[in-house]
Amino acid sequence: MAEKFDVIVVGAGPSGNAAALRLAEAGLSVLQIERGESPGSKNVQGAILYSDALEKLIPDFRDDAPLERHVIEQRMWVLDDDSFVGSHYRSDSFNKEPYNRYTMIRAQFDKWFSERVQKAGALLICETTVSHLLLDGQRVIGVMTDRQGGEIYADAVILADGVNSLLAKKAGFHPEIKPKNVALAVKEIHFMPQELIEQRFGVKGDEGVVIEMVGKITKGMMGTGFLYTNRESITIGVGCMLSDFKNQKITPYELLEQMKAHPSIQPMLEGGEMKEYTAHLIPEGGFNAIPNLYGDGWMIVGDAGMFVNAVHREGSNLAMTTGMHAADTLIELKNEGEDFSAANLKRYKARLDESYVMKDLKKYKNMPDVFHTNPQFFNDYPDLISQAARTMLTVDGVDKKTKEKEIRKSFRQRRSLFGLMGDAFKLWRAFE
């Protein structure tokens, strides 16, 4: 028996849920297929939720979404082996509703989001893996699942199947991802009493703190560490480019363990109980690595389309926004009586080009290459910065002018004057 829907959405993460919600609200018949036992059970994120993208889809999400803490303080740390230099930004303006940023736990969040999608009228089937797309020539006409009589047909298929994007790859829509275009992140969640977290991070109620870290913790690899406060738990993790793990022969869980043992980090985990260890690839290839996003009867959204802004640590918001635009494209075409051919679906790409998604990714399009080819940003500079701070803060009878000279000398020894100027120029060009 072959059923047919207007649209099949593969995956129930943020991009798939956004698309399915929008389509169902517009009255299209939507089947959403999820391989986990429930939405979220296969999904991993830090996780920070930026309100804006979700607000556009579910304006009242704050009423019942499982949110952990709203972020009132952002810390940026540069670490060497036994110290950190940091900046903290804390503002009471982040305490004014509606809050802009939250920590969240994805297994809970995705489940909640999916309930909203189902309420809107989409049909969800879980514990079902899509093995490949059904094609008629180049046109996608449905999916093959691992259920009995597994063929299901639709006028369009939205591929929200995550970073590995196996379905589009199998169909030959895009080549395999390269190790230099993905980061491998590992993390743990540590539970501890709410009061302990509030005491330790100087917060009360639902207030939260996030810490982003660079430096020796990544052993010169291009990457960052992070620590997020949830209500009754702390998430700690580290992610680096997969090509760097490969070239430097570093094992991810050893990297995480060493980071956890850092004298500036270890005390924050004291008294916690580790309850889960996760790993995930993050598509960080940026603008230049974005694959073909549409064709006859199909569109790619979310991580599968490389929609992550690595510089600003944004991903789930881009996922929701791309899911929304894919859905809106189909709704618009359906209303006009147009079909879902590639020629018409190019409107999806046009919508993205007009949105912050492509504008932001384009702005930073050279960033991945700059960092790939200039490891000093993750190696020499963190070291030099903490040396400089130590030199200036150690009172030992040496006058400050001599100390300044020492610092300048240490920078020029590690990077020539030309190198320093070049680095500044590269960063300026990449951020411009």
Binding site: A47, L242, E257
Partner: protein, 98 residues
């Protein structure tokens, strides 16, 4: 700084529904791993230590503890020697928190 790590202790905290006898990852050509691969990156980069370089030079994979990240598939870019599918629906890692 050196820290002894037992990844098994980490994985022990996780929830899995193992699809016994139906591994979702396999090696396409064992000879390639043994005789043509120099770095065996899968054995280093896999965050769940599913891949092992045995004493006799053979590479083996046991995917029971797999976190389904895709690292082994992508890191094997010179040889593309990993057959990688998602587990059957409902099987594999079941994240409690994600």
């Amino acid at each position: 700084m050196s820290v002894a790590v037992k990844v098994e202790e980490k994985l022990f905290q996780n929830r899995y529904k193992v699809d016994s006898g139906r591994p979702h990852i396999s090696i396409i050509d064992a000879d390639k791993c043994r005789n043509h691969c120099e770095n065996h990156a899968c054995t280093i980069c896999c965050p769940a230590a599913c891949w092992t370089l045995e004493g006799n030079g053979e590479v083996t994979v046991i995917s029971d503890g797999c976190l389904e990240c895709g690292t082994c598939r992508i890191v094997c870019d010179e040889h593309t020697n990993v057959a990688w599918e998602y587990p059957r629906g409902g099987y594999g890692i079941l994240f409690k928190f994600g």
